[in-house]
Every structure is written in C-alpha cells, then in structure tokens.
Amino acid sequence: MVERIKAELGATLKETPVGEADYRERGYHLFAEVASADLLNVARFFDERGFYLAALICVDYKEYLELVYIFSNHASLCKVKITLKIDPAKPVAPTISTVFDCAYWHEREIREFFGVSFDGHPNMTYLFLHEGIDFYPLRKEKIPVSDEDKKALGAFRPGEGEDTFFVNLGPQHPSTHGVLRVVLKMDGEYIQSADPVLGYLHRMHEKMAENRSYLQFLPNTGRMDYLGPMAFNLGYVTAVERLCGIPVPDRANYVRVILTELNRLSSHLMWLGAYLADLGALTPFLFVFDDREEINDILEPVTGSRLTYCYFRFGGLYNDVDDAFVAGTRAFIERLRSRFSLYEKLVGGNVIFTNRTRGIGVITKERARKQAVSGPVLRGAGIPMDIRKSEPCAAYGEMDFDVPVGTRGDALDMYQVRIREMENALNIIEQALARLPEGPIMTEKAPRKLKPPKGDLYHTVETPRGELGIYIVSDESDKPYRMKWRVPSFSNLMIFPELAKGNLLADAVAILGSLDLVIPEIDR
C-alpha cells in the first residue's frame, strides 16, 4: 500500500519529491511538501483513494508557518504527512474543506490561533476564542489581532429566516455534559441547522505544553479527558518514549493495558448512565455509579487519585500493583459480568430505549470517513477500525479481542458497540492478569532530563472515545516546540450538525449523547 501510494503521489506531484520516513520514529510512512496551488489536487488524490484527514496542524517556525496535513486510512496502515509552507507576514492558504468536510473546523481553529486565513472557506469566525483576546495565542511572537480581523472573526450571526427561531442548547444544559453550546435554528420542533460554539472550557493545554518540560506536562493529560485519563496518559507517555527511544519493561506494559482498560470501562459506564439520563431514565445513572465506585476502589490505592490519574511515567509506572489489586480486579470482572445481564434487562431490552434510538443519527461509512470520526462512533457506522489492533502500543499486540461493529450506524448501534467493547475490555483485563509477568516496573535507562532529538512525531492511541493523535515537534530542548492534540471528541462532534438537521429537538439530544462527548477534550 505504502509503495503504491508513493508511486501514485509522486506521479501526481511531479516536481516535488515524496520522501519515505521511518514509521517507528516518525509515525507516518510518507511525507511531501506541496505548493499551495497543488494542495487541492493532493486532497482530491487522497479522497479518491479512501483516506481521511486525521489531523490538520499548524506550526509556527518563526521564518515560516507550516500547515501539516496527516492523511490516514481505515483499511490498511498508511499515513502520509503533507506540509505546506506559508508566509507569516501574509498567511493565506487554500481551503480543503470542499473535499474533506472535517477541515472546515480545523481551519477555523487555525484561523483564530495562528491568524492563517483560508481562501474559499465559507465561515472564518471564532470557534474557540472571543473578541477579548488580543494576540494570536499559539504564534511564537506576539502578533496582535487587528481590529478588522476581530470584526471578521466575531461576525458569527446565525442566519435569519421566516418562521424560524433560535434555541441555545447550552452552555449550561444538563445534556451537553459540560459547557458545550449549540446554536439551533428551529422551525417549530424541527432543527434546520446546528452550529456548535466551542471554547467555553478552553484551558490552553497546547500553549502550556510549550511552556513546560515533558514531565511537567504529564498531569495535564489527565485533565484533558477526565473520563478516560489513563488512555491520554498512555498516549502521551508512549509518544514521548517513542520520540526519545526509551524502553519499557514487560510488566509495566501489561499493567498499562489493565489500567487503561479499567479506565475505559469506567468511562463507558459513565457514558451509559449519562446517556440514559439524557433520555429521561435516571435509574441506570445510579447503577453505573455503583460500578464506577468499585473501579475507583481498585485504582485509587495504586494510582493515588480517583479521577485525574497521572500514573504512567516515561519508561514505566509510578507505582507497582500488588496482590490486592489483582484480587480486586478479578472480583470486579465477576461483578461486572453479572451486571451486564441487569443492564441488558434494564436498558438494551427496554422497548422505550430501543425505539427511541433506532434509526436516529444514522452515520454512513462515507460520511464517517469525510468527517474523520473515530472510536465507537466509527465502529458503530460499520468500519472495523481500532488502533489497539492496527498499531498496538503497550501490550495490546498480545491480547486477543475482536472489534465490534454496527450494522445500521444509528444511535442504538453506538450503544451496542460500547456495551460489547465493555465486555471486550473485561476479556482483555482477564488475559493481561493471567499473563502478568514479574519484573521491574521502571526502566533503568530513563534519562533524568528529556531532550528528544530534533524532529516530529505523530502518535496515535485508542481512547474510550476514539483516535487520539499527538503531534510533537521537538527542537532538542527540554520543552516541546509544538504539541498538537488531535482529540477524538472534537472530530466526533463535527458530524453532529448534519445528523441533527431535519430532526426533532428531542432527538438531537439523543444523537448528541450517542457521540459520547467530553468537552474539556474538545476545547483543550
């Protein structure tokens, strides 16, 4: 696949060479630099071959700004990095939102954080920020936002129409699970258009990463996705280990798998409760919190915290697990297995729930690819893609589990996929516990002060919500030069406007819930 794409891309680009990168070091197979005139052709090239736009990143190198497009594939492992250099004095680039719909949101984000405007983009207004911010936050030098730009960025006004009105879903709304705001244009009970407004919890993680050392940034990962902090921890430590070439002992890898999967369970349980609470059933909420507390009882003595874990370290773990942990986890597996039948009776077999969710929020495979959704939402749409399978980190490669997929792509499928994923997670934990090797939990080769070699890395892991991509640019100093987080909820939210269109307001809540959004992760 990689060879074929390389030949074909070379033929399309003609003048510029296509380079081949060491995948283990860089996280992508091929790279090429294109001119802005070629960009749209390149985007079409990847679109025709069934790629999706995994991430769109902007990096400020002072002399020039660089846009990085990561194209990836669901069917086979092939990642391509396309870069485009732009002049920082007059930052303009062509939009590819006409080819890949998800670029619409990424380009808006880059507009407000870097001041790059995209030619042909229909709506270059604030998505995360607001008029009060005078400088482009992620530029290396202090570049003020001019008054004209502020006016253009603040021009978001929902379009007026006859017989329509607006409903603000959020920022304080129980079913947006945080501070997400969606501006809904309503025609009676039906939604004409939906516009998410983000940034109510923008906590500057990417800016912070540039201001502190690799180790100091570690606690932030737990606060980005508070429901699945272990997976974010795992993603970050494995990315840095990959960048610096730090080995990890076997035992640490197995413990990482066990803890990440336990956390996945707790995240999915939380989703289950919150989703049903959105749909009007409060009882499951009480049940799942009972199970969640059991997981907390297991994790707390080991990790030292209940929620925002910061347990993995570069080259190992903070703390070893003991026999009580192993026994507690085994007991919990038994407990949760017996609870599944209860949930099945209470929820899965409940005709009110199934009728409420069947046939709404249907995502086709093609739309899923264009919007770059990932995780259970992608699998619910019928694409069997799981990063734990396709590029396993830690000890996932040695685990035996299947990838559940949906058949209809509706909200009910998302529910079933997540329930089966929870069963899978139990199987994975059981396997890892059975094979848990003895030995050290921390490598002796971990350097005190991390100074990764010059270069970049795009590293992905599977979090409870989908593909987490971490793009790190290192300049040989002890701080990352740029760190971009491609977060799953942000990508999954992008598909919401088209799912909500033409639906009832009550169904929009059911659709929003099925996407399992965590707002601090979207806003970063």
């Binding site: 920020l129 936050p137 109510y200 800016k207 201001n211 502190r212 508070y226 909420f285 009480l286 919190f289």
Partner: protein, 173 residues
C-alpha cells in the same frame, strides 16, 4: 409589609423597625437542610460532584440531592471547574438568575484560583471565581474527593445557621 431580604424575612424598617429573629432562625434551618444545588458541571470536578450525589456518598442524606437544571429553582451554585473568559459572562448571568437567598461553593483549585492553568502568558482562564461572584465556601482539591464536597456542604450549613449539625473530622496533625 413583609419582604424577602438577602438572608431571611424581615420587615421593612420604615414601617416596623422589628426583626423576627426566631422566624428567621427557623427559616435558616429549613434552608440549610434542603439546599437545592444547580446542575452546573464545568469540568473534571463535575464528575466528582455527580459521584457525591450518587449512591455511595448520597448527598441526599444532607437534603441537598435535588439538583435543579434551571438556576431559577436553585439556591446553591457549585462552581465545579475552570471558569474561562468565554464562560464568565454566562456564569454571572446564571448567578443573577438565581433567586435570593443564594450561595456559591467554589469546588476545586480551578474555581478557587485558576489552579494548574495559571502560568505566565495565560490568556483564557479567570483566576478564581470570586472575582466574578461572591463565594461562600471554598473546597480545595484537584479534584476534591466527594468527602471534601460533603464537608463543604456542612460548612455551608454552618454558615447559614451559625451552628454545626455534625461533629467535624478529627484533626490528625
């Protein structure tokens, strides 16, 4: 003429220069034992707030389990998370929509002081919710444990009635 004051029923001074101290105390006792918090989850702390309300920690024991989704029915705002500059006007509006008497509980380091998100050059975080609305109880932690939030509720009760209902935790240090 009877009017609802900021912290209890009082009679307008011009008409009757009298305060019904006992009535006020009874009302305070009633208020303290049925605090209705607002469903207002901001960030990570919101999950611990939910844990507090759920089966194991059972906030209902203290009469405070009735989370209201609208500020107009709530009398306690738990600021559970980071307040950003974009969120600040919304938070103030919500506070203003709550009927008096009303209280604010700042849960977690972010709500108290901006927490871990304060650094040189930060551009989006309000460094403490007390810069926006008056705060009655501060519960530190990142995030605070449910027990800490329960203690926060007891402190609020103490503040309202002037008397602590349950014995405090023993000091170990």
């Amino acid at each position: 003429m009877v009017c609802l004051g900021e912290r209890g029923v009082c009679l307008e001074k011009e008409v009757f220069p009298v305060k019904f101290a006992v009535v006020e105390k009874v009302l305070d006792l009633a208020r303290a034992n049925s605090i209705w918090p607002m469903t207002f989850g901001l960030a990570c702390c919101a999950i611990e707030m939910m844990s507090t309300a759920m089966s194991r920690f059972d906030l209902d024991r203290f009469g405070a389990g009735v989370f209201r989704a609208t500020p107009r029915q709530a009398d306690l705002m738990i600021v559970s998370g980071t307040v950003t500059k974009k969120m600040a006007p919304v938070l103030v509006t919500l506070y203003e929509q709550m009927p008096s008497p009303k209280w604010v509980l700042a849960m977690g380091n972010c709500a108290i002081s901006g927490g871990p998100f304060v650094f040189e050059g930060q551009y989006n975080v309000i460094e403490g919710v007390d810069l926006l609305v008056p705060v009655d109880v501060y519960v530190p932690g990142c995030p605070p444990r449910p027990e800490a939030l329960l203690e926060g509720f007891l402190k609020l009760e103490e503040k309202i009635t002037g008397k602590r209902r349950f014995p405090g935790p023993e000091s170990r240090w």
